[in-house]
Protein backbone atom coordinates (compact mmCIF):
# COMPACT_ATOMS: atom_id res chain seq x y z
CA UNK A 1 0.00 0.00 0.00
CA UNK A 2 2.79 2.36 0.76
CA UNK A 3 4.19 2.15 -2.76
CA UNK A 4 0.90 2.33 -4.59
CA UNK A 5 1.10 5.97 -5.73
CA UNK A 6 4.53 5.36 -7.20
CA UNK A 7 3.39 2.28 -9.07
CA UNK A 8 0.40 4.23 -10.32
CA UNK A 9 2.71 6.98 -11.54
CA UNK A 10 4.75 4.41 -13.47
CA UNK A 11 1.57 2.92 -14.90
CA UNK A 12 0.21 6.29 -16.05
CA UNK A 13 3.54 7.05 -17.71
CA UNK A 14 3.52 3.80 -19.67
CA UNK A 15 -0.14 4.02 -20.60
CA UNK A 16 0.43 7.53 -21.90
CA UNK A 17 3.35 6.32 -23.98
CA UNK A 18 1.24 3.50 -25.39
CA UNK A 19 -1.52 5.91 -26.32
CA UNK A 20 0.99 8.21 -27.98
CA UNK A 21 2.48 5.48 -30.12
CA UNK A 22 -0.75 3.92 -31.27
CA UNK A 23 -2.50 7.22 -31.81
CA UNK A 24 -4.38 7.97 -35.01
CA UNK A 25 -5.17 11.57 -34.30
CA UNK A 26 -2.75 14.32 -33.44
CA UNK A 27 -4.98 15.89 -30.80
CA UNK A 28 -5.25 12.50 -29.11
CA UNK A 29 -1.46 12.19 -29.30
CA UNK A 30 -0.96 15.53 -27.61
CA UNK A 31 -3.41 14.73 -24.85
CA UNK A 32 -1.46 11.51 -24.27
CA UNK A 33 1.57 13.73 -23.70
CA UNK A 34 -0.27 15.56 -20.96
CA UNK A 35 -1.28 12.20 -19.49
CA UNK A 36 2.42 11.38 -19.26
CA UNK A 37 3.01 14.69 -17.53
CA UNK A 38 0.32 13.84 -15.00
CA UNK A 39 2.33 10.83 -13.97
CA UNK A 40 5.18 13.11 -12.96
CA UNK A 41 2.75 15.12 -10.83
CA UNK A 42 1.57 12.00 -9.01
CA UNK A 43 5.16 10.95 -8.39
CA UNK A 44 6.30 14.34 -7.12
CA UNK A 45 3.41 14.99 -4.79
CA UNK A 46 3.55 11.47 -3.40
CA UNK A 47 7.26 11.90 -2.72
CA UNK A 48 6.64 14.99 -0.63
CA UNK A 49 3.86 13.54 1.46
CA UNK A 50 4.20 12.97 5.17
CA UNK A 51 1.56 11.01 7.06
CA UNK A 52 -0.41 13.03 9.58
CA UNK A 53 1.24 16.30 8.62
CA UNK A 54 -0.53 19.50 7.66
CA UNK A 55 -0.32 21.54 4.49
CA UNK A 56 2.68 23.91 4.52
CA UNK A 57 0.51 26.96 5.14
CA UNK A 58 0.99 28.43 8.59
CA UNK A 59 -1.91 30.86 8.55
CA UNK A 60 -3.96 28.91 11.05
CA UNK A 61 -1.46 26.51 12.54
CA UNK A 62 1.53 27.53 14.60
CA UNK A 63 4.84 27.64 12.76
CA UNK A 64 6.80 24.54 13.58
CA UNK A 65 3.89 22.13 13.08
CA UNK A 66 5.01 19.16 11.00
CA UNK A 67 4.08 19.90 7.41
CA UNK A 68 4.49 18.16 4.09
CA UNK A 69 7.22 19.15 1.73
CA UNK A 70 6.58 22.54 0.17
CA UNK A 71 9.33 22.35 -2.42
CA UNK A 72 7.75 19.64 -4.58
CA UNK A 73 4.41 21.38 -4.39
CA UNK A 74 5.93 24.62 -5.57
CA UNK A 75 7.71 22.82 -8.39
CA UNK A 76 4.55 21.04 -9.42
CA UNK A 77 2.21 23.98 -9.47
CA UNK A 78 4.34 26.05 -11.79
CA UNK A 79 4.68 22.99 -13.98
CA UNK A 80 0.92 22.58 -14.24
CA UNK A 81 0.36 26.07 -15.57
CA UNK A 82 3.33 25.88 -17.89
CA UNK A 83 2.16 22.56 -19.27
CA UNK A 84 -1.09 24.14 -20.38
CA UNK A 85 0.77 26.52 -22.62
CA UNK A 86 3.12 23.85 -23.96
CA UNK A 87 0.11 21.72 -24.87
CA UNK A 88 -1.38 24.81 -26.52
CA UNK A 89 1.78 25.14 -28.57
CA UNK A 90 1.61 21.53 -29.69
CA UNK A 91 -2.06 21.88 -30.52
CA UNK A 92 -1.14 24.85 -32.69
CA UNK A 93 1.13 22.47 -34.57
CA UNK A 94 -1.78 20.09 -34.94
CA UNK A 95 -3.99 22.86 -36.34
CA UNK A 96 -1.30 23.86 -38.81
CA UNK A 97 -0.80 20.23 -39.81
CA UNK A 98 -4.46 19.96 -40.63
CA UNK A 99 -4.23 23.09 -42.73
CA UNK A 100 -1.14 22.04 -44.66
CA UNK A 101 -1.54 18.28 -44.94
CA UNK A 102 -5.30 18.00 -44.87
CA UNK A 103 -5.12 15.27 -42.27
CA UNK A 104 -4.36 14.83 -38.59
CA UNK A 105 -3.54 11.15 -38.77
CA UNK A 106 0.17 10.63 -38.04
CA UNK A 107 0.17 7.61 -40.34
CA UNK A 108 -0.77 9.85 -43.24
CA UNK A 109 1.94 12.45 -42.81
CA UNK A 110 4.51 11.81 -45.46
CA UNK A 111 6.46 14.97 -45.97
CA UNK A 112 9.63 13.72 -44.29
CA UNK A 113 11.11 10.39 -45.17
CA UNK A 114 14.51 8.77 -45.43
Amino acid sequence: MSYLPYVIAAWIFLVGLYGLITSRHLVHLIICLSVIQSSTYVLLVAIGYRTGAAAPVFADIPPGTPAVDSVVQAVMLTDVVVEVTVVALLLAFAVQTHKRHGTVDPDQLRALRG
Binding site: T22, G48, P56, V57, P63, S70, V81, T85, A88, L89
Partner: protein
Protein backbone atom coordinates in the same frame (compact mmCIF):
# COMPACT_ATOMS: atom_id res chain seq x y z
CA UNK B 1 7.30 0.88 -39.49
CA UNK B 2 4.03 -0.79 -39.96
CA UNK B 3 1.54 -0.24 -37.22
CA UNK B 4 1.62 -3.79 -35.89
CA UNK B 5 5.42 -3.90 -35.88
CA UNK B 6 5.57 -0.65 -34.02
CA UNK B 7 3.07 -1.74 -31.41
CA UNK B 8 4.83 -5.04 -30.82
CA UNK B 9 8.23 -3.41 -30.65
CA UNK B 10 6.86 -0.89 -28.21
CA UNK B 11 5.21 -3.49 -25.99
CA UNK B 12 8.47 -5.40 -25.68
CA UNK B 13 10.44 -2.25 -24.83
CA UNK B 14 7.72 -1.02 -22.52
CA UNK B 15 7.71 -4.21 -20.50
CA UNK B 16 11.44 -3.88 -19.94
CA UNK B 17 10.94 -0.22 -19.13
CA UNK B 18 8.14 -1.09 -16.71
CA UNK B 19 10.44 -3.52 -14.91
CA UNK B 20 13.19 -0.91 -14.72
CA UNK B 21 10.75 1.75 -13.52
CA UNK B 22 9.29 -0.51 -10.85
CA UNK B 23 12.70 -1.57 -9.57
CA UNK B 24 13.56 2.08 -9.19
CA UNK B 25 10.34 3.06 -7.60
CA UNK B 26 10.47 0.31 -4.99
CA UNK B 27 13.66 1.87 -3.68
CA UNK B 28 11.84 5.05 -2.74
CA UNK B 29 11.00 5.75 0.88
CA UNK B 30 7.44 4.47 1.49
CA UNK B 31 4.59 6.92 1.09
CA UNK B 32 4.29 9.32 3.98
CA UNK B 33 7.89 9.10 5.09
CA UNK B 34 9.38 12.10 3.42
CA UNK B 35 12.87 12.32 4.84
CA UNK B 36 14.81 14.94 3.05
CA UNK B 37 16.08 18.10 4.69
CA UNK B 38 15.13 20.65 2.03
CA UNK B 39 11.40 20.94 2.67
CA UNK B 40 11.78 20.92 6.43
CA UNK B 41 14.38 23.66 6.48
CA UNK B 42 12.26 25.85 4.22
CA UNK B 43 9.09 25.23 6.22
CA UNK B 44 10.91 26.17 9.41
CA UNK B 45 12.10 29.52 8.14
CA UNK B 46 8.87 30.61 6.45
CA UNK B 47 7.34 32.61 9.26
CA UNK B 48 10.33 33.67 11.35
CA UNK B 49 12.48 34.93 8.51
CA UNK B 50 10.16 36.19 5.85
CA UNK B 51 6.93 36.78 7.78
CA UNK B 52 4.86 34.89 5.24
CA UNK B 53 2.56 32.03 6.08
CA UNK B 54 2.44 30.16 2.78
CA UNK B 55 5.61 28.16 2.38
CA UNK B 56 4.80 27.13 -1.18
CA UNK B 57 4.70 30.73 -2.36
CA UNK B 58 7.89 31.40 -0.47
CA UNK B 59 9.61 28.60 -2.32
CA UNK B 60 8.20 29.72 -5.64
CA UNK B 61 9.02 33.39 -5.44
CA UNK B 62 11.83 33.72 -2.97
CA UNK B 63 13.90 30.63 -2.25
CA UNK B 64 13.63 29.27 -5.79
CA UNK B 65 12.52 32.48 -7.44
CA UNK B 66 14.93 32.11 -10.32
CA UNK B 67 13.31 28.83 -11.34
CA UNK B 68 9.93 30.50 -11.40
CA UNK B 69 11.34 33.22 -13.64
CA UNK B 70 12.35 30.51 -16.07
CA UNK B 71 8.95 28.80 -15.86
CA UNK B 72 7.21 32.12 -16.43
CA UNK B 73 9.28 32.59 -19.55
CA UNK B 74 8.33 29.14 -20.81
CA UNK B 75 4.72 30.25 -20.58
CA UNK B 76 5.57 33.51 -22.33
CA UNK B 77 7.50 31.75 -25.10
CA UNK B 78 4.77 29.20 -25.71
CA UNK B 79 2.17 31.95 -26.00
CA UNK B 80 4.39 33.89 -28.41
CA UNK B 81 4.90 30.71 -30.36
CA UNK B 82 1.18 30.06 -30.65
CA UNK B 83 0.64 33.63 -31.81
CA UNK B 84 3.43 33.10 -34.33
CA UNK B 85 2.22 29.75 -35.63
CA UNK B 86 -1.41 30.70 -36.00
CA UNK B 87 -0.69 34.05 -37.59
CA UNK B 88 -2.63 34.86 -40.66
CA UNK B 89 -0.84 33.51 -43.69
CA UNK B 90 -0.66 35.29 -46.98
CA UNK B 91 -2.98 32.79 -48.60
CA UNK B 92 -5.73 33.14 -46.04
CA UNK B 93 -8.11 36.00 -46.69
CA UNK B 94 -9.31 38.27 -43.95
CA UNK B 95 -12.66 37.25 -42.63
CA UNK B 96 -15.26 39.04 -40.66
CA UNK B 97 -15.87 37.32 -37.41
CA UNK B 98 -19.25 35.73 -37.13
CA UNK B 99 -20.34 33.38 -34.52
CA UNK B 100 -22.03 30.80 -36.70
CA UNK B 101 -21.67 29.32 -40.14
CA UNK B 102 -23.79 30.78 -42.95
CA UNK B 103 -26.92 28.87 -43.71
CA UNK B 104 -26.87 27.25 -40.33
CA UNK B 105 -28.98 28.50 -37.49
CA UNK B 106 -26.62 29.49 -34.75
CA UNK B 107 -27.33 28.26 -31.27
CA UNK B 108 -27.96 31.35 -29.20
CA UNK B 109 -26.99 31.21 -25.58
CA UNK B 110 -30.07 31.08 -23.41
CA UNK B 111 -30.84 33.92 -21.05
CA UNK B 112 -30.01 31.77 -18.04
CA UNK B 113 -26.55 31.07 -19.39
CA UNK B 114 -26.04 34.75 -20.15
CA UNK B 115 -27.02 35.99 -16.74
CA UNK B 116 -25.14 33.36 -14.80
CA UNK B 117 -22.01 33.78 -16.91
CA UNK B 118 -21.93 37.53 -16.57
CA UNK B 119 -22.44 37.39 -12.83
CA UNK B 120 -19.87 34.66 -12.48
CA UNK B 121 -17.28 36.49 -14.53
CA UNK B 122 -17.48 39.40 -12.15
CA UNK B 123 -17.06 37.08 -9.19
CA UNK B 124 -14.19 35.34 -10.93
CA UNK B 125 -12.30 38.56 -11.55
CA UNK B 126 -12.63 39.52 -7.90
CA UNK B 127 -11.65 36.07 -6.75
CA UNK B 128 -8.73 36.00 -9.14
CA UNK B 129 -7.39 39.30 -7.84
CA UNK B 130 -7.86 38.04 -4.29
CA UNK B 131 -5.90 34.86 -5.00
CA UNK B 132 -3.09 36.79 -6.69
CA UNK B 133 -2.66 39.32 -3.92
CA UNK B 134 -2.98 36.88 -1.02
CA UNK B 135 -0.42 34.45 -2.34
CA UNK B 136 1.92 34.86 0.57
CA UNK B 137 -0.80 34.29 3.15
CA UNK B 138 -2.90 31.39 1.91
CA UNK B 139 -2.56 28.91 -0.93
CA UNK B 140 -2.51 30.96 -4.09
CA UNK B 141 -0.24 33.31 -5.91
CA UNK B 142 0.41 34.65 -9.34
CA UNK B 143 0.05 31.39 -11.25
CA UNK B 144 -3.19 30.20 -9.74
CA UNK B 145 -4.77 33.66 -9.64
CA UNK B 146 -3.69 34.38 -13.18
CA UNK B 147 -5.43 31.29 -14.47
CA UNK B 148 -8.62 32.22 -12.65
CA UNK B 149 -8.50 35.72 -14.09
CA UNK B 150 -8.03 34.36 -17.60
CA UNK B 151 -11.13 32.20 -17.43
CA UNK B 152 -13.38 35.15 -16.66
CA UNK B 153 -13.42 36.52 -20.23
CA UNK B 154 -13.94 32.99 -21.47
CA UNK B 155 -17.22 32.94 -19.59
CA UNK B 156 -18.15 36.12 -21.36
CA UNK B 157 -17.56 34.35 -24.65
CA UNK B 158 -19.81 31.51 -23.58
CA UNK B 159 -22.50 33.98 -22.63
CA UNK B 160 -22.44 36.54 -25.36
CA UNK B 161 -21.14 37.36 -28.76
CA UNK B 162 -17.49 37.04 -29.63
CA UNK B 163 -17.45 40.70 -30.62
CA UNK B 164 -18.35 41.85 -27.13
CA UNK B 165 -15.55 39.72 -25.78
CA UNK B 166 -13.13 41.25 -28.24
CA UNK B 167 -14.21 44.77 -27.31
CA UNK B 168 -13.82 44.06 -23.62
CA UNK B 169 -10.46 42.38 -24.04
CA UNK B 170 -8.53 44.11 -26.81
CA UNK B 171 -5.72 41.89 -27.98
CA UNK B 172 -3.11 44.62 -27.92
CA UNK B 173 -3.81 45.34 -24.27
CA UNK B 174 -3.46 41.79 -23.07
CA UNK B 175 -0.38 41.34 -25.23
CA UNK B 176 1.26 44.34 -23.60
CA UNK B 177 0.08 43.21 -20.16
CA UNK B 178 1.66 39.84 -20.69
CA UNK B 179 4.95 41.26 -21.88
CA UNK B 180 4.98 43.70 -18.98
CA UNK B 181 4.43 40.89 -16.52
CA UNK B 182 7.22 38.82 -18.02
CA UNK B 183 9.58 41.76 -18.10
CA UNK B 184 8.59 42.88 -14.63
CA UNK B 185 9.91 39.77 -12.95
CA UNK B 186 13.32 40.18 -14.53
CA UNK B 187 13.34 43.89 -13.75
CA UNK B 188 12.58 43.20 -10.09
CA UNK B 189 15.56 40.89 -10.03
CA UNK B 190 17.80 43.46 -11.67
CA UNK B 191 16.50 46.12 -9.29
CA UNK B 192 17.41 44.05 -6.24
CA UNK B 193 20.86 43.64 -7.76
CA UNK B 194 21.14 47.37 -8.25
CA UNK B 195 20.13 47.79 -4.60
CA UNK B 196 23.21 45.88 -3.64
CA UNK B 197 21.92 42.38 -3.10
CA UNK B 198 21.95 39.26 -5.20
CA UNK B 199 19.59 38.74 -8.11
CA UNK B 200 16.04 38.41 -6.76
CA UNK B 201 17.14 38.90 -3.20
CA UNK B 202 14.24 39.80 -0.96
CA UNK B 203 15.42 43.25 0.06
CA UNK B 204 12.15 45.03 0.84
CA UNK B 205 10.92 45.19 4.45
CA UNK B 206 9.10 42.04 5.44
CA UNK B 207 6.13 43.59 7.19
CA UNK B 208 3.97 41.79 9.75
CA UNK B 209 2.99 38.18 9.37
CA UNK B 210 -0.56 37.82 8.18
CA UNK B 211 -0.98 41.22 6.64
CA UNK B 212 -1.27 41.68 2.91
CA UNK B 213 1.93 43.68 2.80
CA UNK B 214 4.37 41.10 4.02
CA UNK B 215 7.14 39.09 2.55
CA UNK B 216 9.12 41.87 0.94
CA UNK B 217 9.29 41.46 -2.81
CA UNK B 218 6.92 38.47 -2.86
CA UNK B 219 3.66 40.45 -3.35
CA UNK B 220 5.30 42.45 -6.15
CA UNK B 221 6.42 39.33 -7.95
CA UNK B 222 2.97 37.83 -7.38
CA UNK B 223 1.38 40.77 -9.15
CA UNK B 224 3.84 40.60 -12.00
CA UNK B 225 3.34 36.88 -12.50
CA UNK B 226 -0.43 37.22 -12.17
CA UNK B 227 -0.41 39.85 -14.89
CA UNK B 228 1.71 37.69 -17.12
CA UNK B 229 -0.22 34.47 -16.66
CA UNK B 230 -3.61 36.07 -17.11
CA UNK B 231 -2.41 38.07 -20.10
CA UNK B 232 -0.76 35.06 -21.65
CA UNK B 233 -3.72 32.74 -21.28
CA UNK B 234 -6.05 35.47 -22.53
CA UNK B 235 -3.89 35.86 -25.66
CA UNK B 236 -4.01 32.09 -26.13
CA UNK B 237 -7.78 32.07 -25.87
CA UNK B 238 -8.14 34.92 -28.33
CA UNK B 239 -5.77 33.37 -30.86
CA UNK B 240 -7.49 30.01 -30.72
CA UNK B 241 -10.94 31.53 -30.92
CA UNK B 242 -10.00 33.54 -33.98
CA UNK B 243 -8.67 30.36 -35.50
CA UNK B 244 -11.78 28.32 -34.79
CA UNK B 245 -14.16 30.99 -35.88
CA UNK B 246 -12.46 31.40 -39.21
CA UNK B 247 -12.70 27.70 -39.80
CA UNK B 248 -16.35 27.65 -38.96
CA UNK B 249 -17.00 29.75 -42.00
CA UNK B 250 -15.27 27.46 -44.46
Amino acid sequence: MKRKTRTRFFLVSASVLAAVFLLGVLGLPPLGHYRGPYGDVVNALTVPERHVTDAVTLVNFDVRGFDTLGEEYILFTSVMAVALLLRRQRDEPRRRHRDHAPGRKGVEASDAVRVVSLVLSGILVTFGIYVVTHGQLTPGGGFQGGVILATAPLLMYVAGEFENFRRAVPRQLVHIAEALGACGYGLIGLATMAAGGAFLQNTLPFGTTGSIVSGGTIPLIDLSVGLEVSGGLAVLLIVYMEETLEHKEE
